[in-house]
């Protein structure tokens, strides 16, 4: 049952922070009793937060382990175009903004083409460890194509982990098949457990040969999602839950969703911001439904931290993305190029590369630990955010002007914590108009006290300083967390000595638009 206060919270115009904070108060503490067996308060789902058998399964999975996403890559193959539900944040005619469906310019693949693509990519990118089917429709609304693809890949590239992402409507009827095909991970998008709220998100579902609308549609969908989740976790298949945060619709309600999915064994909960702009042609875009600000998103994610492990590194990537999260190399692997490629799939070589990555990871963790010890004497309650320009591998290794996104770390006396990322690349539509690139970046990281870069020019340096964000280039090509903690120690000392005055920063903007590849950006620019 929903409390009246809660009802009020979700029907109000904006994000009701008071309602969220009230729920936080009721929901505090580390969940140690849930089915997933989580043993501590982990936010970034690291080795110390997860039972060993789960850690073993996720440690090289970029979409499940924040730490792994610096080192390992994933790819999606777009073999599943049909969908069985309609969401107000998705417009199939143009593109799906939130679930990052490929647009009209992307290619659909047959299972055979997809299998060839996977092998070609895996042979070229040895850190590619994960293959996902995420659409552009719903994989389980296209079961024949989806499972045929898995079957072919299991034959030619047996070391690659298989996953799929679904809205859950057809999940219960396919759980047995999912288990039979050794699918390691399933992601279910669950935006509500209350059909009244669901009716505001889903106009209809197609079920049992009928189009069903309104509360009844949402009731059926929710029932299938939760039952499917239970059935998967009972069989030991790892489940992540994605939720789209829609201010004024399901924002406060997502705390209830978090509890419900945790209780059913979801090991990770990924709350993503709504992406909504009129040019997407979605219902929400056209009715002016806004997405959350960076502060609103972080507050909700922080509020859910005691439930299932929170995931904050999701890039809301497209259903045909290739590469490390935050990059997209799909333009290198078009069907035309793949068919001409001579592929040598060398399992040994891939293993050797991944072992080398493993050593680098250990070094990174050790470096962080060492620096953390120096912080142990601090009793300050100052918390700051820092933005980092990185190309991956956990290093500060990107130039300020080349960064397409910044990773955000929260620094406190407890150490450093990855809390999200901000995209700053220009999207073909829905950009910030006449703003300069620098203004766009400053708006995106306006809540940060510092930005760590490998290199930065004189002009942006001055402008950032003027905006109150300290540009830091002295840790170029060093480990992110070790460097950030080191900088933070100095910052605390300066505050203590009175050399600098500590002020809280403002809010920041979340960029609209899904990640698109270079090739497609050119196509879009030409329109």
């Amino acid at each position: 049952m929903e409390s009246p206060a809660h009802q009020e919270a979700v029907t109000s115009e904006g994000v009701d922070m008071e309602a969220i904070m009230q729920q936080v108060a009721e929901h505090k503490g580390c969940g140690t009793t849930g089915d997933s067996g989580k043993s501590s308060c982990g936010s970034s789902a690291g080795e110390s937060d997860l039972p060993p058998e789960i850690w073993e399964k996720v440690k090289n999975h970029p979409c499940y382990s924040e730490e792994a996403h610096h080192h390992f890559a994933r790819m999606h193959v777009a073999v599943a175009p049909a969908c069985n539900i309609q969401c107000n944040y998705c417009n199939r005619k143009y593109d799906c903004a939130n679930e990052s469906r490929p647009g009209v310019v992307s290619e659909r693949l047959t299972p055979e083409q997809a299998a060839k693509k996977v092998v070609a990519v895996a042979a070229t990118i040895p850190q590619m460890t994960v293959l996902g089917i995420a659409g552009p429709g719903d994989p389980l609304a296209n079961p024949a194509k989806t499972f045929k693809t898995f079957e072919l890949i299991a034959q030619t590239a047996p070391d690659i982990k298989l996953c799929l992402s679904t809205n859950g409507l057809a999940l219960p009827e396919h759980v047995e098949t999912i288990a039979r095909y050794n699918v390691d991970h399933v992601t279910i998008t669950i935006n509500m457990i209350d059909p009244e709220i669901g009716a505001k998100i889903y106009p209809w579902i197609f079920y049992n040969h009928k189009r069903i609308e309104g509360v009844e549609a949402a009731r059926i969908l929710s029932e299938h999602q939760l039952r499917g989740l239970e059935m998967l976790t009972e069989r030991g298949i790892l489940c992540k839950v994605n939720s789209v945060m829609i201010p004024g619709v399901n924002d406060a309600h997502l705390i209830e969703v978090n509890k419900a999915v945790k209780a059913r064994g979801a090991f990770l909960h990924n709350i993503m911001p709504l992406i909504s702009a009129p040019e997407h042609g979605t219902v929400y875009g056209l009715t002016g439904q806004r997405g959350p600000s960076a502060q609103e998103l972080k507050a909700l994610q922080d509020a859910c931290e005691g439930g299932a492990n929170m995931m904050r590194h999701c890039r809301q990537c497209r259903a045909d993305a290739v590469g490390l999260l935050g990059e997209d190399r799909s333009a290198e692997f078009t069907t035309e190029k793949i068919m001409d490629m001579e592929v040598n799939y060398d399992l040994e070589q891939r293993k050797a590369y991944q072992d080398a990555v493993e050593l680098e990871r250990v070094a990174k963790v050790e470096a962080k630990k060492e620096e953390l010890q120096g912080l142990s004497g601090e009793d300050s309650d100052i918390k700051v955010l820092a933005a980092v320009a990185t190309k991956g591998n956990g290093l500060i290794n990107e130039h300020f002007g080349h960064a397409k996104e910044f990773q955000i770390y929260e620094l406190s006396a407890a150490g450093s914590k990855f809390v999200g990322h901000r995209r700053v690349d220009l999207y073909c539509q829905g950009g910030f108009g006449d703003d300069t690139a620098l203004e766009t970046v400053i708006r995106a990281i306006n809540d940060c006290h510092a930005v760590f870069v490998a290199k930065i020019g004189g002009c942006p340096k001055a402008d950032l300083t003027k905006a109150g964000i300290e540009p830091v280039d002295e840790f170029a090509h060093e480990f992110i967390e070790k460097s950030a903690i080191s900088w933070f120690k100095t910052y605390l000392q300066k505050v203590k000595s009175g050399e600098v005055a500590h002020f809280p920063r403002g809010d920041a903007e979340i960029r609209q638009g899904a990640l698109i590849s270079e090739g497609e950006r050119k196509v879009c620019d030409g329109v």
């Binding site: 049909a82 309609q86 199939r92 189009r211």
Partner: protein, 73 residues
């Protein structure tokens, strides 16, 4: 009347192809088309035309006025 697909609206998502009880729908030249001779408007199969019910874009699967309404035998 048989149903037809408005090509300019079709997203080529293929959802209708799998739902058609008459196998009247197939992909031709980058979009999906309904073979009028095979279309029964789903009469005798389902309460509503399946292509209309599953299509993600409104007014994309529509009755084709060029053909008389389907008469069950």
């Amino acid at each position: 009347m048989a149903y037809k697909i408005v090509a300019s609206q079709c997203t080529n998502c293929s959802a209708c192809e799998a739902e058609c009880p008459n196998e009247a729908i197939s992909e031709k030249g980058g979009t999906f088309v309904i073979e009028p001779a095979k279309c029964t408007e789903c009469i005798g199969h389902y309460e509503t035309a399946q292509c209309v019910a599953v299509c993600p874009v409104d007014k994309t699967c529509i009755l084709d006025a060029a053909y008389p309404r389907y008469q069950p035998a």
